[in-house]
């Protein structure tokens, strides 16, 4: 039987299956792949009424403008600093929490704690930021109330640039650390119990068991997640940062995503903001590919 005939028979036999895939395929073509084609406007002076075919080409002008702009170094360093802060202050927290949860001997107690610390993950960023606002405001917020009752001056957490980064990190930890334990707990569950028995024979106490058995046993998972985190270096959460952004903290809070929103949607510079987004997406793609390569090299299965 020829290849075409075989193909026709496959199409006929599976016609309903192809029909099922079709809507999903149409969806990603329209809402994912056409926007990728739309990246062409970053090389144009795009005019909405003229469309891509009618707008003038300007080459790399928008990219040059971006790299020569003082804004570029501001958003670049802001992005990098937030990423490094996440790596230092957020990344270890789920690991420590998972180790602690693993040591709990009562199943009911363990489950109760887990249920509670997973909850914040399901709150929207708007809710998380709003809770912070009502607690931190100078106008009747609980935190400033406490500070005042201890005899100190009220602090303007919400409008001072130096508080933006701590606030961002604390919110990330509060919302995600509990949920982040899941993957580590799964890895810990796979550790051979005999190892602990042996360690006990050798007289190792619980802390030493944690340090010498549990932690090394999940080292691979930790390294893989660390590497994958590098792939997400530019994904700091548009919604989260945008909600915290205001006129007073812009110099520390503006990142690529918020910059694209402000220059593109609010100021209508479609081509320039697309160029900024393109640069971010391109670097992000390279980082993900690099991270995945690194993960494979490390000896584990890659993710994609």
């Amino acid at each position: 039987m020829s290849g075409t005939a075989r193909m026709m028979r496959n199409l006929a036999r599976n016609k309903w299956i192809y029909l099922m895939i079709l809507p999903g395929l149409v969806y990603i073509i329209i809402y994912k792949y056409i926007p990728m084609y739309g990246l062409l406007i970053s090389f144009q002076n795009y005019k909405p009424y003229r469309g891509i075919s009618g707008s003038d080409w300007v080459g790399l002008a928008h990219f040059e403008r971006l790299f020569n702009s003082p804004d570029f170094w501001m958003i670049f360093s802001n992005t990098l600093i937030l990423f490094v802060l996440q790596l230092i202050f957020y990344f270890p927290v789920p690991i420590i929490l998972a180790l602690m949860l693993n040591e709990v001997r009562s199943v009911v107690y363990q489950r109760t704690i887990q249920s509670i610390i997973y909850l914040p993950h399901f709150m929207s960023w708007v809710v998380v930021v709003s809770i912070s606002y009502v607690m931190l405001t100078m106008d009747g917020g609980i935190i400033n109330g406490l500070i005042e009752s201890l005899g100190y001056e009220k602090m303007n957490f919400l409008l001072s640039p130096e508080w933006f980064r701590p606030m961002y990190i604390i919110q990330v930890i509060w919302r995600e650390a509990g949920w982040g334990t899941i993957v580590f707990l799964a890895a810990i569950a796979a550790v051979d119990p005999q190892l602990y028995e042996a360690a006990k024979m050798d007289g190792a106490n619980r802390l030493r068991q944690m340090w010498h058995i549990t932690l090394p046993a999940i080292r691979n998972v930790i390294v893989i997640l660390l590497i994958l985190k590098i792939g997400d270096i530019l994904e700091l959460g548009f919604e989260h940062v945008y909600l915290l952004l205001n006129a007073t903290n812009r110099e520390v809070a503006e990142i690529f995503d918020t910059y694209v929103y402000v220059t593109g949607i609010q100021q209508g510079q479609y081509s320039y903001s697309t160029a900024v987004g393109f640069f971010k997406g391109f670097v992000g793609l390279i980082m993900v590919i690099f991270a995945n390569w690194l993960a494979k090299k490390y000896g584990e299965e890659g993710i994609y």
């Binding site: 496959n10 599976n14 309903w16 299956i17 192809y18 099922m20 895939i21 809507p23 999903g24 395929l25 969806y27 990603i28 329209i30 809402y31 994912k32 792949y33 056409i34 926007p35 990728m36 739309g38 990246l39 406007i41 602690m100 001997r105 704690i113 887990q114 249920s115 997973y118 909850l119 399901f122 929207s124 708007v126 809710v127 930021v129 709003s130 809770i131 606002y133 009502v134 009747g140 609980i142 109330g145 406490l146 509060w174 899941i182 993957v183 799964a186 119990p193 028995e197 006990k200 106490n205 619980r206 919604e239 694209v260 593109g264 949607i265 697309t274 997406g281 993900v288 993710i303 994609y304």
Partner: protein, 291 residues
């Protein structure tokens, strides 16, 4: 495993358990504070700084926000978008996932790659915005749903599950003369209820929490879902009397109104959470292991 009952081990348990309790409290206390303050009277909020449970309960703040139309309407919009969006997304995600789980489909690997690639790279905010505009979704509630029709991550979890169903299931139905749609809706889906429930919940949470698409695609405040109003009321505070309505002579302090708005914007999730927690974690684990 036999647990070691030495004194050192007991002290360790005590410290560890206490620390975890403190951490859990840190997760919980902000909610308690917000819910408590939303139910407190004006006088008590002003007098007490550390508010957890008010001594005198009042629903004034809730009466106020539900008298302003904005919140009532936006809650209704959020409910409609959440229910409609979840159904819509599940319908297309399940069909795509099932189709791609079948082995003898031409170009299956390529189509799958097309989906996975969108997780690594995309056109970004502005080109997507232009497409949403050109496809006529601007200022319609469809703009909150259609651009997020299929979450590739969720679709792949579904696909992995369908792939692991026993083959015999479909064979027997085929012999009975059912077509593929019949097999999917009458056999495969009923056999996959755990994963269907998990993914539906993931979608529902996403739709309830939707914020970015709303600020991008909806200019008219009368279409805003509750998250956008929450931001308006708490973060920008000025949105409070957007429609000019006034609640009797002495409106409650803004603080308790803000608290009450946070509560209504998060309550649906807090209420269903205890029942769904098991599913959520199962799904997350499936997701972390991945295809």
């Amino acid at each position: 495993m036999i647990y070691d009952k030495s004194l050192g081990s007991r002290i360790f348990n005590l410290i560890n358990g206490t620390l975890l309790a403190i951490i859990a409290l840190l997760c919980l206390l902000p909610f308690v504070h917000v819910i408590g303050s939303s139910l407190a009277t004006n006088a008590e909020i002003a007098a007490r700084k550390f508010m957890l449970v008010p001594t005198e309960f009042t629903f004034d703040a809730y009466r106020y926000i539900f008298s302003t139309n904005n919140i009532t309407r936006s809650l209704l919009i959020s409910v409609v978008v959440t229910l409609g969006g979840t159904l819509w997304s599940m319908f297309f995600s399940v069909m795509t996932a099932y189709g791609l789980s079948r082995k003898d489909i031409l170009g299956r690997r390529f189509i799958l790659f097309l989906f996975v690639f969108t997780m690594l790279f995309n056109g970004g905010m502005i080109p997507t915005f232009i497409v949403v505009q050109k496809t006529g979704l601007m200022n319609t509630l469809w703009a909150l749903i259609i651009p997020g029709t299929i979450n590739v991550f969720n679709m792949i979890i579904l696909r992995t599950f369908f792939q692991n169903l026993p083959d015999g299931l479909e064979e027997s139905a085929k012999i009975d003369g059912a077509n593929d749609f019949g097999i999917l809706f009458r056999i495969v889906i009923p056999c996959s209820m755990p994963v269907i429930a998990t993914i539906s919940l993931f979608y529902a949470v996403t739709y309830w929490n939707t914020y970015m698409n709303a600020i991008l695609y909806l200019n008219d405040a009368s279409q805003w879902p509750v998250q956008v109003w929450l931001r308006q009321i708490v973060v920008l505070a000025s949105g409070l009397n957007y429609d000019g309505s006034i609640y009797n002579d002495t409106p409650p302090p803004a603080q308790s109104v803000k608290m009450a708005t946070i509560v209504v914007a998060s309550l649906p999730i807090i209420l269903v959470y205890p029942f769904l927690q098991k599913h959520f974690t199962k799904g997350a684990l499936l997701g972390s292991i991945k295809a």
